[in-house]
Structures are given as C-alpha cells and as structure tokens.
C-alpha cells in the first residue's frame, strides 16, 4: 500500500506537468459542448418548396398560403411544370415540390375532394417523412376550414341522409403537450448525452495513451521488474484519471447549467454516482486498449474504432428504440447507453433513485466485468 502512495504521487506530478492534459481539459469540453450541442440536431427547420400551381385559384393559393403561414415551409420557387420542380430537387435548391393540378378548386367544390402532389427529396428519408407529415396536417386543417365555408352552401343536402338529423358534425379538438422540455430546446436533450461522450473520450483515451506512452518509453518494463503488484499499478494509473474525468464532468455540468440552461430536475448526487460507476467501465476499456497496442498511434486507432461503435450504439444521436431488435440487444450491453439514459432521466425528467436503480446496477456490473477482463489481459510477464 505504501507503494501505491508513491505511484499516485508520480502519476499526479506527471499529469499536471503535461501541458497537453491541461489543454485537453479545457479544449474538449468547450469544443464538444459548444459545437456538438449546436450541430448535433435533426430538427427539421423550414423546408424550401417549389410551387407548381396549375390551378391558380383562390383555393390553390389558400393551400400554399397555409403551408407558408405555418412557418414550416418557404415558397422559394415557382414554375409552370413539374419537370422544372424535379430539376430543382436534383439541384438541391428545394426540399419539396408542391404541384396543384388544374381543376383543384372545381373538384373541391363539386366533389369535396381535391388532390395535390408532393414530391419530396427523400435523400434524407427521416427528414422527408417528418416534412411530409407536417404538410398533411396543414392541408387537413385547411380542408376542415374549407368544410365550414363549403358544406353549408353546397351539397349539404347530399350529406344529410348519412348524418343523424338534428345533430352536429362530430367535433374533435386535440390538445398536445410536450413534457420535460417545454421550450423544445434540442440542446437540453443533447448536452447531457454529450457530457457522457466527453467522459468516455477522456476516460478511455487518456488511460490508453498514458499506459502505452510508458510502454514506448520503456519505463513500463522498469516498473514491471519491481515488486509493485498488478492491482497497485492499475489503481495508481486509473485513480488520477478517474478524478480528472470527474472534474471534467463538474466543469461540463456547470457549462450545461449556465451556458445552455439545461434544467437540473433531479439530484446531482445521483448523476455523480452514475458517473463514478460508469467511469470504471470507461477506464477499463482504455486499460484493455493499452494491453493490445504497442504505440500511441495504434492506441489512438484502436480506441477510435471501439468508441465509434460504442457511440453509435449508445442512443446518443439516434434513438435506440429505432434500431432493429438485434441491435437493441447489443445496445443493452453497452454501459454508455445506460449512463446516457440515466443522465437524461435525472437531469430532464427529475428521475429519482427508484427510477434509475436498474441503470445503476447495470453500470456497476459492467464496470466490474470490463475491469476484470482488462486486468486479466494485463500481465507483468509476457507469455
């Protein structure tokens, strides 16, 4: 245990003498939080629309006006042919083409049924799906508006026999409420997740590089011929990095609170407990990487490839529930996924200990498992 004290002192001295560490501590939170929080959004803003209005009637103009008035669409181009619209899609100057055929108004008045055509640039399928759904909603609302104007005047008689007499047309009002993020600020959702990513990068990369650097310098061999035990050595390596990561988390949380105004509904103690457990797994991965690589360059690459998979399967950017079943199973053994869930639940929804107990258990178990595997892999004596 005495040896641990000396090794720890050495690690701290080295860490704080390394200018790269200080830069890392400042740069990563800033770059990641500021850039990622702003950039990582799928939010579909205004879609640019090419309008081909062949009807040129009050009602066709009304349809276009309703779409634009919603704030979701901009009528940025207009022409007389769908072909030109299609070309605009190809050139990416618009996201969709709205084509209103001649006779739109006539059909609405006569048959109560009008048709329009929507051509979407579906390169980004998800965005196209959402834009399309907005357009449908707005057009349906416009139809309801026309109902009031058209039905009493025209063809009411024909509708009568089907509707029970003396009773009104069914009226449905839908009130929608979004819980936990009333301002719909996407950054509130992303920032806790990005913090997790931050901890992961700091934890794994620093650990891997730190140990591999000693390998490259030959000082690792020197330590391995001393009586220092594996457990003491690994503790001395991981503890300072664990502390640094916790400091990064505190800085990150402060930035999240005061720069991004992320609500902190739940208990920060719970967040720190989750981080403390999660970091054991993250550092364990770094330790493992250091055992299978010889140079810092290799360590970077191995680490990068692992993190890549790890990140994509974590639900940070894309919802886990959208993944196919097998991928969800894989995602379930990813500790990062559970920590992100915990962070979001505690910070945004005010989840308490009973709500996130399962996540904490998974984090604890995965920490133990990862560390055990990595320690088994680490040998003082090569085979």
């Amino acid at each position: 245990m005495r040896a641990l004290r000396f090794l720890l002192r050495k690690e701290f001295l080295q860490l704080f003498r390394d200018p790269a560490i200080v830069r890392l501590l400042v740069m990563i939170p800033i770059v990641q939080l500021i850039v990622l929080a702003n950039a990582a959004t799928f939010e579909v803003k205004r879609a640019r629309m090419h309008v081909v209005d062949l009807d040129r009637s009050t009602m066709s103009r009304g349809a276009v006006d309703r779409l634009v008035a919603s704030g979701r669409f901009v009528a940025s181009e207009a022409s007389g042919s769908t072909a030109q619209g299609d070309d605009a899609l190809m050139r990416r100057t618009v996201e969709l083409v709205l084509a209103i055929p001649a006779g739109f108004e006539r059909d609405l008045v006569r048959d109560r049924r009008g048709e329009v055509q929507l051509l979407m640039n579906a390169e980004d399928g998800a965005a196209a799906g959402v834009t399309q759904a907005y357009a449908r909603q707005i057009l349906a609302a416009y139809a309801a508006e026309l109902q009031v104007r058209l039905v009493p005047a025209v063809a009411v008689g024909r509708a009568r026999p089907e509707a029970p007499p003396a009773r009104g047309v069914p009226r449905v009002e839908v009130r929608s409420r979004g819980w936990y993020n009333a301002e719909l600020d996407y950054r509130h959702y992303m920032v806790p997740g990005i913090l997790v990513q931050l901890l992961t990068i700091v934890g794994t990369l620093l650990t891997a590089l730190n140990i591999v650097r000693e390998k490259e310098a030959g000082t690792l061999d020197q330590l391995n011929v001393t009586p220092v035990s594996r457990g003491v050595f690994i503790t001395a390596k991981l503890l300072p990095l664990w502390l640094i990561a916790m400091v990064v988390l505190s800085i990150g949380l402060t930035v999240a609170r005061f720069v991004f105004g992320v609500p902190m509904e739940g208990s920060l103690v719970l967040v720190c407990a989750g981080a403390a457990l999660y970091l054991v797994a993250a550092l364990g991965i770094g330790l493992w990487v250091s055992t299978v690589t010889e140079t810092q360059q290799q360590a970077m690459f191995v680490n990068f490839s692992i993190l890549m998979v790890y990140l994509l399967m974590s639900g940070l950017f894309t919802p886990v529930s959208a993944m196919p079943h097998w991928a969800q199973v894989v995602a379930n053994v990813n500790p990062m996924r559970h920590f992100i869930t915990l962070m979001r639940a505690v910070l945004l929804k005010g989840a308490g200990l009973p709500d996130v107990a399962p996540q904490l258990v998974v984090l604890a178990v995965s920490g133990v498992v990862v560390l055990a595997v990595a320690m088994r892999q680490y040998h003082k004596r090569a085979d």
């Binding site: 205004r46 979407m120 058209l150 509708a159 009226r171 009130r175 993020n181 959208a322």
Partner: protein, 373 residues
C-alpha cells in the same frame, strides 16, 4: 538519365512507404475493416426514423368510440400500446422511467360528445425531452387521430385535400441510403488527411525526415511518395464501402462510377494536402493527431451534413460549414449515387473542391518548405 534516376528514387521511396503501412498489421486491419463495420452499423443499426413508439392510453370510461380510437392506434405499425391507465397521474412514473413516449388522454363520454356535436377534447402527451422525436411522435399521433376522425359516421361528406406523396430518390426512406455517401467521405478523410498527417509527423519526430530531405529527392517527390500508398488505400476503402452498400443494403447506384471515382480522387487529394499542412505546422505526433482530429474528423462528421442536416445548424456554423471539404463532397456522392446527377448538376461542388485543392496545395508546400528549410 536524370529523370530515370529520379523515378527510380521515387519508386524506392513509395515501396518503403508501402512497407511501413503493410507492416503495421493492426492499423492496416483497422483501416480496411472500419469502412465495412461502419457500413454494417449504419445500415442495420442506425436509424433516424421513429418507429415502435411506446404508447399509453388514459381511458377512464371506455365506450365504443374510445375503443375505436384505441384500435386505430393498435392498428398502426408505428405505435405499440404498452399501458392503459385510469388517470393522468399514473402516467408520470411511466414517462420518467422512459417506458412510455406518447400518451393519449380520452375524456369521459367520448361517444356522447361526438354524437351531440359538442367538442370532444382529446389530449396528447409526448415525452419531449428529445424535442425532435417528440415533435415527430406528436405529428404521427395527430395523423392517426385525423384518420380516425375522417372515418367517423357523419364526417363522410367532409371536404378532403388528398396529397399524393412521392418520395423521390429514396422511396422506402432508408437511412442507409443517406449514410453510405457520408461514410465514404468520412473514411476518405480518415485515411487521406489523418494518416498522412500522422505519418509525416512521425517521420519528423524520428528525424528520418531530415535523411529524406538530404537525399536527392525533391520535396514534392517526398510528399508524393508519402501520400501515394495512402491514396491507394483510400481507394480500396471507397470500393469496399460501395460494394458492401450495394450487396448488403441494395443502396442504389444511379449515376456514373467514373464521375464518383474522379470526385473521390479529387477529395482524397484535398485531404492529403490538408494532412501535409497539418504535419507541417505541428511538432509532434500527438499534436498532429489532435490537430487532424479537430481539423478534419470533427468538421467532417458534424458540419458536413453527413448525419445532421446543414439546414438545422445555427447560422454561424452554417457559414463555417462552407469551408469544410466534406460538405461539398457528400453532396456529390449523394447526387451521383441516389439521384444519378451528372457534371451538369454538380459542377459547382466540383469547382469548390478544385479551388480548395489549389489553395491547400499552395499553403501546404509553402509551410512545408518554411518549416524544413
């Protein structure tokens, strides 16, 4: 004679570089497998569409109308009913644990209200902690209610506007079609810019660069020799990603392969020039790694439209995205692969990349000379 000597020297040098790359098996394996792994991951696992929404109903007094509405939700693929609870209060813990994402609150006496024509007040509650999926889920739920309403007796004669929607270029809305082009850009960036930067700076760090510089090789030959093997590697990666995308995921390829490969070469050269520049202005491998990470990988993933649409970025970042080469390249790849676009449609993007190449080459050679002279 002198030209022949030069070529001979260049060949020897390229061979040496290739040996370096081939000898580091681990890095090579990663470089060759990564595009495959990514195509598989993005193709199978990474979806941005919202499916299987966990749905709950609050229906304190079920009647025929409310059951009909619930059946509507049960009938769609998108919603999976996980709970039916009597009060709104009971929803709270379900939402907090993430068990439920959307809840529909049905008032008592829904059927009576519909029959009498008094307003039937439905309430939709969504977990908006992720505002994007929150809004999307709300929109989908709203659409289900609308359809249900349209099928109610008494609404039969209502006015309807029916949009005929055609999804151009990607009718099944597969996210993989969106991601594969981005992946090609990402892998090319990694191999060309990052590997070049690291390998050049390693040579500098070890002092072997000086040996090369005192040799009769021209600086441009040294750079060419360094980058040629990486260029080949980059090509192998592009082809792997394309073949995997085509075989496994049926990603369409509608345009000209020649145009795509030509554009890839152009982009790879831009990346290589960027790598040379980074190596010239940094002093150690570690600095070069950090530099290429911040200077190439981050912008290529975040500010390129690869995953996140550029239109969603705040304005300053949108402006910044214009100087990210990947942003232009991804437009080209998507255009060629998904839309069958030709030079006519893509000349602007190609011109931008060419301009970037010229500028970067000029800057890179200058700083390279300045640092080593």
């Amino acid at each position: 004679m002198r030209v022949r000597d030069r070529l001979q020297a260049l060949r020897a040098f390229v061979t040496k570089e290739a040996r370096h790359i081939l000898r580091d098996r681990q890095t090579l394996t990663i470089l060759l497998l990564m595009p495959l792994a990514q195509v598989v991951l993005f193709g199978f696992a990474i979806r941005t569409d919202v499916n299987e929404i966990r749905f709950a109903v609050v229906d304190p007094a079920p009647d025929a109308a409310s059951l009909g509405l619930r059946a509507r939700f049960a009938g769609t693929d998108r919603f999976r009913t996980v709970a039916t609870v009597p009060t709104v209060a009971a929803l709270e813990p379900l939402f907090r644990r993430g068990d439920v994402e959307v809840a529909l609150v049905v008032p008592r006496g829904l059927g009576d209200a519909l029959r009498d024509g008094t307003p039937a007040r439905l309430q939709l509650i969504t977990d908006a902690s992720n505002p994007n999926t929150g809004t999307t889920m709300q929109t989908y739920a709203g659409a289900v209610i609308q359809q249900w309403q349209a099928g109610l007796p008494g609404t039969r004669g209502a006015v309807r506007i029916e949009p005929q929607v055609r999804m151009r270029f990607n009718p099944t809305l597969e996210s993989v079609n969106l991601f594969v082009p981005g992946l090609i850009a990402l892998v090319l960036t990694l191999v060309s810019a990052q590997m070049t930067a690291i390998s050049l700076s390693r040579e500098k760090e070890r002092g072997t660069m000086e040996i090369l510089l005192v040799s009769p090789l021209h600086p441009w030959q040294i750079i060419l020799g360094k980058v040629a093997p990486y260029l080949l590697l980059a090509f192998a990666n592009v082809v792997t990603a394309l073949v995997a995308a085509w075989l496994v995921f049926d990603v369409p390829f509608r345009g000209s392969l020649v145009l795509l490969l030509a554009a890839s070469t152009l982009y790879a050269l831009v990346g290589l020039a960027l790598g040379v520049f980074i190596a010239a202005v940094t002093d150690s491998q570690r600095a070069a790694m950090t530099g290429s990470m911040l200077g190439t990988m981050l912008p290529s993933t975040l500010l390129s439209g690869m995953i996140f649409p550029i239109a969603s970025l705040p304005l300053p970042l949108q402006v910044l995205s214009n100087i990210v080469p990947a942003r232009w390249f991804i437009v080209i790849v998507r255009g060629v692969m998904l839309k069958g676009a030709g030079v006519v449609h893509l000349w602007q993007e190609l011109a931008v990349l060419t301009l970037m190449l010229v500028v970067l080459l000029a800057v890179a050679t200058r700083s390279f000379k300045a640092r080593l002279a």
